[in-house]
């Protein structure tokens, strides 16, 4: 950041900076900033001035004001000095820096966090956000876009904060999520068992959810909660959902798709294809896509000419039993007995045959 930019850079289109009445404001700031370190106090001599701002090449203005209270309350308040992040500004007057626009300004400090948060920084390099950033789309969120800069707070306190953070860009998805069974219980009932965005999408290494690879991983993803006996018991939900899925047409197919190198043009249905993604509803909800009355329409998404008979093939995640799908159960039982019986019987005959030949010798 450049103070007195006009002096160093006479070209008016360059950086403009407002030089405040630096030392005049000192006493006022000392009052506000009790809990921050003396080094921070030093910077605040100027940066507590609300009118302090930087005019960028684009004409945009960047406020250089730092709210000392919110910084003091932030997770870094008692830990970091200004220069820990703003390592390039250790002297006063500050060295000359020029920024094209606001986004460039934010980008310039993008790598500040990795000094301490190297783990999450490297994870973010694998994210879809970084992928679009590296393609030159500067709208991609940087650390501070989600976490804030001077006011960094614990990201998941309260838990719903995570999803609200994402909603700043992904408004439409958030709107649908808020109406879903997961969103409703969290946002309305404050039930922290419900997943937030990051539980499925992760937080730093956010994968592109539009890929076939992600699609095929969905069953594992949902299963993290939906096979958790303790968690599901609370809501009277079955934990057999994954097992029964994997034993059925779609699950068998999905398992074989898993390791494919070439992206298949169409892959089998996973959880979200029938239940919905962000707008997922409780299966008892009359408007749920998997409600019996609605099911054929879901089948028709892939099986275009499916008739009303067709969805009956689906056992609704029930394991066949004498009560539920008895025919399937008994046919299965028959083969479980019949196959070993036939094979072992015939193997016995072979052994008798060999035994006779050996004895005769």
């Amino acid at each position: 950041m450049t103070m007195d930019a006009q002096k160093h850079q006479p070209m008016g289109w360059l950086i403009g900076a407002v030089v405040g009445a630096l030392f005049l404001l000192l006493p006022a700031m000392l009052l506000a900033a009790e809990s921050v370190s003396p080094e921070v106090q030093f910077c605040l001599n100027c940066h507590s001035n609300k009118t302090l701002e930087l005019v960028l090449q684009s004409g945009e203005k960047r406020s250089l004001y730092v709210d000392v209270d919110s910084f003091a309350r932030s997770v870094h308040g008692d830990k970091l000095r200004c220069t820990d992040c703003h390592g390039d500004i250790s002297t006063f007057p500050h060295p000359t820096r020029s920024f094209k626009n606001l986004r460039q300004f934010t980008l310039a400090y993008y790598e500040s966090c990795k000094g301490c948060h190297f783990d999450n920084y490297t994870k973010s390099l694998d994210s879809v956000h970084y992928a679009i950033l590296s393609k030159g789309d500067l709208r991609a969120p940087l650390c501070v876009d989600c976490h804030g800069a001077h006011d960094v707070a614990p990201p998941a306190v309260p838990r719903s904060r995570v999803s609200r953070t994402c909603s700043r860009c992904h408004q439409e998805v958030y709107r649908r999520y808020a109406r879903s069974v997961h969103g409703k219980v969290l946002l309305q009932d404050g039930n922290v068992d419900a997943p937030v965005c990051a539980d499925c999408h992760r937080s730093h290494n956010i994968e592109d959810p539009r890929t076939v690879v992600f699609h095929l991983k969905t069953p594992e993803l949902c299963a993290r909660c939906h096979t958790d006996e303790k968690l599901m018991a609370k809501y009277g939900l079955s934990t057999n959902v994954l097992k029964t899925y994997l034993k059925d047409f779609h699950g068998m197919t999905a398992s074989l798709h898993k390791r494919e190198q070439i992206t298949p043009s169409a892959v089998t249905a996973v959880c979200t294809d029938c239940h919905g993604v962000h707008d997922i509803l409780a299966v008892k909800d009359p408007s749920s896509t998997v409600m019996k009355a609605n099911l054929v329409r879901v089948c028709q998404k892939c099986h275009a000419d499916a008739t009303e008979n067709f969805p009956a093939a689906w056992l609704s995640h029930y394991e066949p039993s004498p009560k539920r799908a008895p025919l399937v159960y008994y046919v299965k039982l028959f083969y479980q007995i019949f196959i070993p019986f036939v094979v072992l019987g015939l193997v016995l005959q072979i052994l008798l045959h060999i035994w006779r030949v050996v004895v005769n010798r």
Partner: protein
């Protein structure tokens, strides 16, 4: 008989004609293909299944090859049915349906099976088998029945939208179950029982080449099918089926194909058995 035992070069007789040998080849190739592309689906939770599917080219490729082999096996099935009907109704050889040359179980088959077990326990002589022994007929009908059952259920799933118009949807589950388990039985049956009965029997070990060469030596015919030999001699038609000895290249080709198929079969048997036991 006295004269022949002194003879250095054995005589050969035709047992399986070219049409049946080629049809068996088609059956063998398509069955092997169906097993290799179907068993990964039956045991889709096994690592080897995913590896095998990936090696073949993914699920899409598996499905494509499975359907191709299914079509070939269906063709094989109908070529056989066609040949049987041609023999019976055009050539008038109604004996294909009943009699000593028929695949249909005869009363003597049950007697021979009983005698065979008496022989196993050392309380009776070895039965005098005819052209087809009871276990060969069992083999035949197991495959025949299997093709019908697995074929019908397979086509129901292949054209599920069509069959869904008039069949209750619940039948698709039954179809999948029957298709997969009947196929598992078929795979195990062919890769153990059929392999043993046809090739690893102590009399034949390690391989009976008759399915590739079509020819049987004089000694084999007399020892293994004494009843057939007897009736051929009595009818005086032994000369009619006498053939040249199978050429070496054909025997070697048979060995190469035979051992490759046996090895592949054993591998699939082992993998599916392990997966079945850990289910």
């Amino acid at each position: 008989m006295e004269r022949q035992s002194l003879d250095q070069t054995p005589r050969y007789y035709l047992r399986i004609n070219l049409y049946h040998r080629l049809l068996h080849g088609l059956l063998m190739a398509s069955f092997l293909g169906l097993a290799a592309t179907g068993m990964p689906l039956r045991f889709s939770q096994s690592t080897w299944a995913v590896e095998l599917a990936t090696a073949i080219g993914g699920f899409g490729a598996i499905l494509f090859f499975h359907k191709t082999f299914a079509f070939l096996l269906t063709l094989c099935f109908f070529l056989h049915i066609g040949a049987v009907f041609y023999l019976a109704f055009v050539r008038g050889e109604i004996g294909v349906f009943w009699g000593s040359a028929s695949m249909v179980p005869q009363p003597r088959d049950f007697i021979e099976m009983f005698q065979h077990f008496r022989w196993f326990f050392g309380i009776g002589p070895r039965p005098q088998f005819g052209r087809f022994a009871y276990w060969e007929k069992f083999d035949y009908w197991a495959v025949f029945w299997g093709m019908a059952i697995i074929g019908i259920t397979g086509y129901v799933m292949w054209f599920s939208s069509f069959f869904g118009r008039f069949l209750p949807g619940g039948l698709f589950n039954i179809a999948l179950l029957i298709h997969a388990d009947e196929a598992l039985l078929a795979v195990w049956f062919i890769f153990t029982i059929h392999f043993f009965n046809s090739h690893f029997r102590p009399e034949k070990f390690p391989m009976d080449l008759v399915i590739f060469t079509g020819k049987l030596s004089d000694r084999e015919l007399q020892e293994e099918r004494p009843a057939e030999y007897q009736s051929l001699v009595e009818e005086g038609s032994l000369e009619r089926i006498q053939a040249d000895p199978p050429p070496l290249w054909l025997r070697n080709l048979g060995r190469i194909i035979g051992f490759s198929v046996v090895a592949t079969g054993f591998l699939l048997f082992g993998l599916t058995l392990l997966a079945f036991l850990s289910e």
